[in-house]
């Protein structure tokens, strides 16, 4: 057996065995084999299959297949869907239709010029509702606020669901049943709450993304639309010298020093205090409109979800409402762009989109779809006010690295407003300096 060919045999056998194993184990390949000429559409969703949003979309996808004969291959990827898409662009495995929030789609696909232009969808007649085009039913303000992220395409997404950020409270609470409209009224109610031995504002120390809504809104109210963006994108840091910035920081500091933020917030992990709020341990909770759905399991008996727009600090202040858009996008490299666009228009039909409200308890992008009961206030806020993006839509990178670390110190009560402004200015300069 010491024959020199022994190894050759073994090597051949090994290769053979490997190929057989690959074939037998049904090793998956990327070729989707749409060779039969039939129209098809591959959709990667931000929802996981068991979520109610997925069920709503599934219903429409099925009827779309029936109505158009286009075969839909849907994959419920979950929140990290765009990471999968970016990988796909590298490995040649690209879906035709994707959905996510604007602040995920923008940097991933718009900024890199990988998103198709969806302008044509806006003028498409909606199947089953031929008297309307998509542009007729989805408010133009949603398209207007979309930042281009430096990319060439402006209309890179069509929203089907909207969230907005407002102050939530329990309408059935005994301490301060009336919603405040001004900052001073809010403070007065906070004092009432503290006197009644409960927290006023619920917040989790580690949820900086949520806590920064307070500062973002205050800057907006004190300084107007676009001010926050200026603060973040002024490479010299000079924007921080404005007296109104200090005032906004002082307003945060006041919440902290007067004990208006729920006890233990600086040491808690999201969503602990969110749940405490739902259990009536605090009066107010500034959060996206998903808050009722998230807290439903923890809500105290008789909890009546109400919301009000972030209070104004002066008579002529901006009342713009933070809005987050969730919608469809089509990668530029997608093979079946027309089918994808066709589905976007198809889903914009009122009956189909209304599932987002009735089944998933979210706000639909069409204002004529009734909001779910616990979001009635929120829908009114959205309709009655101007719309803006949180942090004026600046990139998440500058927020994560240039803004959040110092803001934490202010919100957690470790620095005074004056110290904060100084540090934040330095952090902004350092961020842009490092960016080169």
């Amino acid at each position: 057996m010491t024959h020199p060919n022994a190894w050759l045999k073994i090597a051949t056998g090994a290769i053979l065995a490997t190929s057989v194993a690959f074939a037998a184990s049904g090793c998956t390949t990327t070729s989707a084999s749409p060779d039969d000429g039939a129209k098809s559409l591959t959709y990667w969703s931000m929802w996981t299959e068991t979520e109610p949003q997925a069920a709503v979309l599934k219903t429409s996808l099925e009827s779309f297949e029936k109505d158009t004969g286009i075969k839909v291959d849907v994959q419920w990827q979950g929140r990290k869907v765009l990471e999968k898409v970016t990988t796909g662009l590298l490995s040649g495995d690209v879906p035709d239709l994707v959905d996510q929030a604007y602040d995920k789609i923008g940097p991933a696909l718009a900024a890199t010029n990988q998103a198709a232009d969806l302008s044509s969808v806006l003028s498409t007649k909606i199947p089953g509702e031929e008297e309307h085009t998509v542009a007729d039913v989805i408010p133009s303000k949603y398209f207007d606020i979309l930042p281009s992220y430096g990319g060439e395409v402006k209309n890179y997404m069509v929203p089907y669901s909207v969230s907005n950020v407002s102050v939530f409270y329990n309408k059935a609470n005994a301490v301060a049943p009336k919603a405040p409209t001004t900052w001073d009224e809010l403070l007065a109610n906070c004092q009432k709450a503290v006197d009644a031995k409960m927290g006023c504002i619920a917040a989790d120390g580690d949820a900086t993304w949520a806590n920064s809504y307070w500062f973002d809104y205050l800057i907006n109210r004190n300084m107007g639309d676009g001010a926050f963006q200026k603060l973040m994108e002024d490479k010299t840091g000079a924007a921080w010298d404005d007296a109104a910035v200090l005032k906004s920081a002082q307003q945060i500091q006041e919440l902290v020093t007067k004990g208006y933020i729920i006890k233990g917030y600086d040491a808690s992990k999201y969503p602990e205090q969110q749940n405490a709020w739902a259990a009536n341990k605090a009066l107010y909770f500034l959060m996206g409109s998903w808050a009722p759905a998230e807290t439903a399991k923890y809500a105290a008996e008789g909890f009546d979800y109400g919301a009000f727009n972030f209070p104004s600090t002066a008579t002529n202040a901006s009342t713009a409402n933070d809005t987050l858009l969730f919608g469809f996008t089509v990668p530029k490299k997608a093979a079946h762009q027309d089918e994808a666009k066709q589905f976007i228009a198809y889903f914009s039909n009122k009956d189909r989109m209304s599932g987002i409200s009735t089944d998933a308890n979210n706000l639909a992008a069409r204002p004529d779809v009734d909001a779910p009961k616990q979001l009635a206030d929120v829908a009114a806020i959205l309709a009655d006010n101007e719309t803006r993006l949180p942090t004026d839509g600046v990139s998440s990178d500058v927020i994560d690295k240039g803004f959040n670390p110092t803001f934490d110190k202010l919100f957690l009560g470790k620095v005074s407003a004056e110290e904060y402004v100084k540090e934040a200015k330095a952090a902004t300069i350092a961020y842009w300096n490092a960016k080169g």
Partner: protein
């Protein structure tokens, strides 16, 4: 690359007389390449090529989609200016030195305590077990146990501590992470050190005892020097592991789809975040950070080896 910290163990084969070319030797020679090649190939594919590729990427800017652009040393300059990257290095060093030293002190203390204790095998197993569990689990546990209204604080209130530390506050988060690391690593190093100490023949202790040595003197003059080699190997092991710490931090601070607070990042977290964390992918920066962490582990291992070797001679 890391250093040749661990000199390949010499078995008896090297000392074997080479009786010319025996039959076994010949067949072994013929089998040399076929048997070695698959592993070697994987080594090249999964270690050597990627490291070279990372070095090359670190000189470019690339989002993984569009054209790759030459950037020279700018990625490294950007890192040097980035307070978050510097912070991640500091955190990694804290893990290495603070966690490392405390863990070793604990491991030695445990070894001493366990030496003559009933049920030492059982105790050792129970303390060892956390080493085998995915650290993410501990991150989730800690969030529960240390929450403001959680069990630890309730327990403290029960014994009269009314104002407990703010465990999960950002300032303390990293300290808590270090505590969890100490807890989960102590059992592992205790086991190693125990097995080394167990091999020290009893008569050394008996001799020391006859010379009138107390427990401390025995530890200082018998245990420590004789176990020194193992300690130095453990130190190198710890260096390698400390640079890799990832899961625990990822879960500890980040509760939802968000990234954990930048103040808790280790170099591994930084590399991950730069490449896959945010919306935009910065493969170049990520690769540069990766190369820096590779340099870090190399320098640290060499330095540590030197330092420990000298001390061993001293004793």
């Amino acid at each position: 690359m890391a250093t040749p910290v661990i000199s390949p163990a010499r078995g008896r084969s090297t000392g074997r007389p080479r009786a010319g070319m025996s039959a076994i030797e010949r067949s072994r020679r013929r089998l040399y390449w076929p048997m070695l090649l698959p592993a070697l190939l994987l080594m090249v594919l999964f270690y050597i090529v990627p490291i070279l590729y990372a070095g090359w990427l670190s000189l470019h800017t690339w989002d993984g989609i569009n054209e790759l652009k030459w950037r020279g040393a700018d990625n490294y300059i950007q890192l040097a200016k980035d307070p978050i990257f510097i912070g991640s290095i500091v955190n990694t060093l804290k893990i290495l030195f603070v966690v490392g030293i405390v863990t070793f002190v604990f491991a030695f203390a445990l070894t001493m305590i366990l030496r003559d204790m009933m049920g030492r095998k059982f105790v050792r197993s129970v303390l060892f077990f956390p080493t085998l569990i995915n650290a993410m689990v501990f991150g989730i546990f800690a969030g529960f146990l240390f929450s403001p209204a959680g069990p630890i604080n309730k327990l403290l209130a029960f014994v009269g501590v009314q104002d407990p530390p703010k465990w999960l506050a950002q300032d303390n988060l990293f300290n808590l992470i270090m505590i969890v690391m100490i807890w989960s690593a102590t059992g592992y190093f205790t086991t190693i050190i125990m097995s080394a100490v167990d091999q020290i023949p009893a008569y050394y202790y008996e001799a020391a005892g006859l010379d009138g040595a107390g427990p401390w003197a025995k530890f200082r003059h018998v245990t420590l020097p004789l176990a020194w080699d193992v300690i130095s190997v453990c130190a190198v092991l710890w260096t390698m592991s400390s640079v890799k710490v990832f899961e625990l931090i990822l879960v500890f601070g980040g509760s939802t789809a968000q990234a954990p607070p930048a103040s808790t990042w280790s170099t591994a977290l930084y590399v991950y975040q730069a490449a896959f964390g945010g919306g935009s992918r910065e493969f170049g920066v990520s690769a540069a950070a990766a190369i820096v962490s590779l340099a870090l582990v190399t320098v640290l291992t060499i330095g540590l080896r030197r330092m420990l070797r000298r001390e061993a001679i001293e004793i």
